[in-house]
Symmetry: C2
């Protein structure tokens, strides 16, 4: 692997493990056994490393959140969506832990984030409308936008919420699956009687992944 | 007003207006037309000012979120809860904008926040159970804890969500009332047929405060 890529990879791992605000370029260089000068040859500062990681994040989001094809199984789509959310939160947890600060610090990154945010809103809207059309859920058409925003907020700030509501929080599989269960609970009251059992099975699957008694 | 109190008051205003991370002790001193030395006579650093503001926050939370008395009107309690949420978000918006960072920086403040957080969780739980007992809503008993956590997360990160989902965000009445409408939407699918109209009226009231067409 090229040094530049090794720096990006190591930075992502260190940011996720210790929080972006606790990791300096010196930590990153020392972790890789390279000199700070060598790191600065590749990146002017930490912001530039974050921008490179953010490119990977954007690619990850594009690939893992595929558009909803209305012909296919709607519940399968819900499950695929939740798996994609899991993967994004798990691989880029440091972003979700510190989003407002990282965005406030770098207006260009914020613009890029807003672009991704809007694409994600469209995909969540398509998911909700897909479930509605397949009669999996029954929600007032006027509420769809607000409901999609609630889901987006719930996902985006799940890690921040966990970190501010208990003494010590490490980002584990279980923690993220517990967040997905909250998203499933948001859908639950809208589920039609025909699909109650299907969504119950889906919930049981994520509960076992989250190590929660169902 | 004593200089110490003037510093606390001005800091709160500046933090809310510009974001805590953009305001230095020099800004605060210059805003009050006092010397930095005079400010440092009262507070060692910005952290100490924030701790003093946090004391006010704790008092505010204690006073405005009164415990639910089961004998009284359940919908009135929901409305009182929402008004109290409005007031907390409005008066201490800078905290909600930067909570994970402020907590990570000051472990003692984090412990105090966790205490308040747990009290608030108890109050939200009591609110949900109060609405359940008054048959305003019908929710599975097993879901009450998760539902209360969803409400808490929705409220706590509403301002962070707004700030990261649009280019420029100023904290206005309308913005906060739009957040309260999201909380009402969380309750909506659980509302019993008997109370549908009551909750619809409550929603209409907040929509008019948020300047949203209903």
């Amino acid at each position: 692997m090229k040094t530049k890529d090794r720096i990006i990879q190591a930075s992502l791992e260190l940011f996720n493990a210790h929080g972006e605000r606790n990791v300096t370029t010196n930590h990153i260089a020392s972790h890789l056994n390279i000199s700070p000068g060598n790191l600065y040859y590749h990146f002017r500062n930490k912001e530039e490393i974050i921008r490179n990681i953010f490119e990977k994040y954007v690619q990850h989001m594009e690939v893992s959140f595929e558009p909803v094809k209305p012909s296919e199984d709607a519940v399968e789509f819900l499950s695929n969506y939740l798996d994609a959310v899991f993967s994004a939160l798990f691989h880029f947890s440091f972003l979700y832990d510190n989003l407002p600060v990282i965005m406030a610090r770098d207006p260009e990154l914020k613009s890029q984030y807003l672009e991704i945010h809007n694409k994600m809103m469209d995909k969540i809207n398509a998911l909700v409308l897909g479930l509605q059309n397949a009669e999996v859920i029954n929600i007032d058409h006027d509420d769809v936008d607000d409901f999609s925003n609630i889901i987006k907020q719930q996902v985006t700030f799940w890690i921040s919420y966990c970190k501010t509501s208990q003494e010590d929080t490490s980002i584990t599989d279980e923690l993220i699956y517990n967040g997905l269960l909250k998203v499933l609970l948001l859908f639950k009251p809208y589920v039609t009687s025909e699909f109650t059992d299907v969504v119950k099975d889906l919930t049981a699957r994520y509960k076992s992944l989250a190590n929660v008694e169902s």
